[in-house]
């Protein structure tokens, strides 16, 4: 979507990257009388690391104490506790159980407990073998003990950035998708010019929240402080009939020798297994691999073997923005009127609001005067999670608009009304993928066997294009 009309006066702040971190910063700054713009190279928000994460809202119990990451995770957790329910983002406070399967892992538990307490996550406690099986009776035999982290939660990974970007837009932040930044130049006065194939854009301050590409933007300012290595995480999502098999997020215990995988319920009622961790070179390589899927299958068999008897609903891979450093790479450069917010690794969802608040502080230190707006509009997303009442089940929603009783995607029970809303929302879906992530259509067990064409027709009619163009068919 484009709501820029050149020529125009420079923006006060440009945020590069509409992932969860960029969207959080945009929302944070939208409270003040600043002219902000949120830009992204992709045609939609949340298309990088945010798109395919494990969807866990972490407490930060196992972060390295004293790091910026640990501090921001803790702060963010409390901010999210207010924001997530208020914004109608699907979440469930499921809690997490770390299960020790061998001596090494068992011996690591007291250290993890101490670390959690040091990070201020006080409700973490050790579990006996019996307690582990009481909490997770379907678990394979052989567990030695565990650790309970009651605060760990599951969340709609796309809903969070969408809610924040929508709220930012409602409060005056401009959005510019499909705008890759390839160069930065100083303009007149304190103005900088961000340019790329899609054009140029003038602003006074720049915040680099470009995720996988944050090192490349940082280099445009003359720095070589870090390099982003895309770390592929492959995931397998199981059928909703697997949901009763697991009650909590089952987290692996890091022992330094082997990386484990987690088994987690999702807010949509599925069960997720993953991720793998494999460093790649190509930042566009978002496919799955046979090796990765085989690896996950074996891990799943070892943790929760009944899971592997259920149908697989989806497999996908996400790329995390790992760097050579173990902490966030957040640096203000007052002279250049630039803040780098890089190296957020895999904790962007959990730390988003903490990072946004921290970045606001850095801007103020740079001398940006922040004047709160007289009026602020908050935004609430339509319900998408199993713990919420979806429209197809709501007598009042259907009475108000019968389209909420017309199910288009049967597996996920997405109604024509919800699709219509997603097409006409403040940040509307313009692609099948965008529609899929906003409504969950085509995301269920049949993966579009029944609704792929119907949904494509609805989007094509809305956009005034041929359905063939939506599936990438070129004459």
């Amino acid at each position: 979507m484009t709501n820029l009309k050149p020529p125009m006066k420079p923006f006060d702040v440009a945020i590069i990257g509409a992932g969860v971190v960029g969207c959080a910063i945009a929302r944070q700054l939208s409270r003040y009388t600043l002219q902000c713009v949120l830009i992204d190279s992709e045609p939609d928000l949340g298309m990088g690391t945010s798109k395919a994460s494990t969807a866990i809202w972490h407490t930060g119990f196992d972060a390295k104490p004293g790091t910026l990451e640990a501090r921001l995770l803790t702060r963010s957790y409390h901010l999210l506790e207010d924001y997530v329910p208020q914004a109608g983002i699907a979440y469930e406070r499921s809690g997490a159980v770390l299960v020790a399967w061998n001596e090494d892992q068992f011996n690591a538990l007291p250290g993890l407990l101490a670390k959690a307490h040091e990070n201020g996550v006080r409700d973490v406690h050790l579990l006996s073998v019996d307690q582990v099986y009481e909490l997770e009776p379907r678990l394979n035999a052989g567990a030695l003990g565990g650790l309970m982290v009651p605060g760990e939660s599951i969340i709609c990974t796309y809903g969070l950035p969408l809610a924040m970007a929508t709220e930012a837009a409602a409060n005056g932040v401009a959005l510019q998708f499909g705008f890759p930044v390839k160069s930065v130049a100083s303009g007149e006065g304190a103005v900088q010019l961000l340019s790329g194939p899609a054009g140029s854009l003038a602003c006074r301050y720049v915040i680099n929240a470009a995720g996988l590409y944050s090192d490349e933007i940082d280099r445009l300012y003359g720095y070589t402080r870090f390099t982003v290595t895309p770390r592929r995480g492959e995931l397998i999502v199981f059928d909703k009939f697997a949901r009763p098999l697991v009650n909590h997020v089952l987290l692996p215990i890091p022992t330094g020798k082997t990386k484990g995988v987690l088994v987690s319920p999702t807010v949509y009622g599925n069960v997720m297994l993953g991720p793998t961790a494999e460093d790649l070179k190509d930042k566009t390589q978002k496919g799955t691999s046979n090796e990765g899927l085989d690896f996950l299958w074996k891990k799943g068999e070892a943790i929760l073997s009944p899971l592997m008897k259920e149908e697989v609903t989806a497999t996908y891979a996400g790329l995390r923005a790992a760097t050579e450093h173990s902490d966030y790479q957040i640096f203000p450069s007052a002279e250049q009127r630039y803040i780098c917010v890089g190296g957020i690794r895999s904790t962007g969802i959990s730390a988003s609001l903490g990072i946004a608040e921290y970045v606001q502080g850095l801007l103020e230190e740079m001398g940006v005067a922040l004047q709160p707006k007289a009026e602020y509009q908050s935004v609430r997303l339509p319900p998408l999670g199993e713990a919420q009442t979806r429209p197809y089940r709501s007598e009042s929603a259907i009475a108000a608009d019968p389209d909420f009783g017309r199910i288009v995607c049967h597996c996920e029970r997405v109604t024509a009304g919800e699709i219509k809303n997603a097409l006409n929302s403040a940040i509307p879906a313009t692609t099948l993928d965008g529609l899929r992530r906003r409504t969950r259509c085509m995301q269920g067990r049949c993966q579009g066997f029944h609704c792929h064409a119907d949904v494509s027709k609805m989007l094509a009619d809305h956009l005034g294009v041929k359905p063939a163009s939506l599936i990438g068919y070129k004459e």
């Binding site: 496919g287 799955t288 697989v312 009783g405 017309r406 064409a453 359905p467 068919y473 070129k474």
Partner: protein, 417 residues
């Protein structure tokens, strides 16, 4: 919320559901309700624009949509109450369902429930095929929907995964969309186009000639960015991978029953068919719940589903009159060579169904094949068949069920060379 009661609730208005409704009407039952989640009734044949329908039950050659329309027209003529765009979302009692639709929610209490919810093809993800999540990946079902209903071009070069009957539907659909099929990939040593209506085979000869069947092969991964660019096909015997450029991949067959409602209602399932476990009268192990059509074991031809609809209607009528929900039965357990057996509960022979059929499907090629049914040390049935081919079903008589000892253990169903 609206509440209503009905004698028989039929979920799904495909050939099985509609045939059952019409037969129940014919038997004199007036109070029945058919629910269909799609906007149009008729079921799977609506999407299959090729010919070959109606031979066994309507005794003429019809297209899929023509066949579906004939059933819907019959239902209308007999004043069967049919609600479209109405989805059963839950069970609120043993035989009470909660349905949603544009009119709102309604709770329907029935004396008998027939599940005829059909089946689907396993999509790419469920088959764990690695690679990119590009556009241009279909199942036969979604492909037919794009081509026939949206009149949409889908691609230029396609690879078809599978070489069974439904793969030919995909081949014909691609031809209509002027998309060239460059290969059909099957993990078996031969294609499985046996028992196809002969004129159809002749009509397809030219297309088949241009789409060579790659046997002993599997799609190793899909390559591409926004759109599919190629598939890597792995030879399962040698392990070699070759890249085949294409912009479209169609996953065909590998049927799985749409069992959501059955399972969520606590209906015991069969490990082979993945559908509800049923006896020869298509009774499930949940009293008052019946199942028919492709929900039982994945796709069979529509006339098979329709015949099951007629059978289950008689069974439902008997249940309503005699409450014979508690029937003696033992499970029929397939051996490692057999994919599924349906029905999969052996029950005593009765006047309702003096001689029925048992269908089964095998996992590999057997030529010739010997079917053997045993209980404990006793051989109940033995038959030689000329051949058994995977992804095809075979019917044998069920008269052997008279010999079953319902106090003894399960019946073993085996197929050997």
């Amino acid at each position: 919320m609206k509440q209503r009661k009905t004698e028989v609730l039929i979920v799904g208005a495909g050939p099985a559901g509609l045939a059952a409704a019409l037969e129940l009407k014919r038997l004199g039952l007036t109070d029945l309700l058919v629910l269909e989640r799609d906007p149009v009734a008729g079921g799977m044949p609506r999407f299959c624009h090729h010919t070959g329908f109606g031979i066994l039950d309507r005794h003429r050659l019809m297209t899929g949509p023509g066949y579906a329309a004939a059933w819907v027209a019959d239902a209308k003529r007999q004043q069967v109450e049919l609600l479209t765009q109405t989805t059963v979302i839950d069970w609120t009692g043993p035989l009470t369902c909660l349905a949603t639709g544009p009119e709102g929610l309604q709770e329907i209490e029935a004396r008998a429930v027939l599940l005829a919810t059909g089946c689907r093809e396993r999509p790419r993800a469920a088959r764990l095929v690695a690679g990119s999540r590009s556009q241009g990946i279909f199942t036969t079902g979604s492909l037919q929907d794009f081509v026939h209903h949206l009149n949409c071009r889908v691609g230029k070069r396609a690879v078809i995964v599978g070489a069974e009957k439904v793969s030919l539907s995909a081949l014909m659909t691609l031809a209509k969309a002027r998309c060239r099929a460059v290969a059909m990939v099957t993990s078996f040593p031969r294609h499985q186009f046996y028992g196809i209506y002969r004129p159809a085979k002749i009509a397809l000869a030219d297309l088949l000639h241009r789409a060579p069947v790659k046997v002993n092969s599997a799609v190793h991964q899909i390559l591409g960015h926004e759109r599919v660019e190629a598939v890597e096909i792995k030879n399962l015997l040698t392990g070699d991978c070759t890249s085949t450029p294409c912009d479209t991949v169609v996953f065909t067959g590998d049927w799985i029953p749409d069992y959501e409602l059955a399972r969520s209602g606590g209906v015991p399932m069969d490990a082979g068919t993945l559908g509800p476990a049923v006896d020869r009268r298509l009774r499930t192990r949940k009293a008052g719940v019946f199942a028919a059509g492709n929900l039982l074991r994945g796709a069979e031809t529509a006339d098979v589903a329709a015949k099951e609809g007629i059978l289950v209607a008689r069974s439902i009528q008997t249940f309503l009159n005699h409450h014979d929900a508690d029937f003696p039965c033992v499970p029929i357990v397939p051996d490692a060579a057999v994919r599924w057996v349906s029905p999969n509960l052996a029950s005593p022979e009765d006047a309702l169904m003096p001689c029925g059929k048992v269908r089964f499907s095998v996992k590999d090629f057997y030529r010739p094949a010997r079917v053997r049914i045993e209980q404990a040390d006793q051989v109940l049935f033995e038959q030689r068949l000329r051949a058994c081919v995977p992804n095809t079903s075979y019917a044998i008589s069920d008269h052997w069920m008279t010999k079953v000892n319902f106090a003894a253990g399960p019946v073993r169903f085996s197929v050997v060379q």
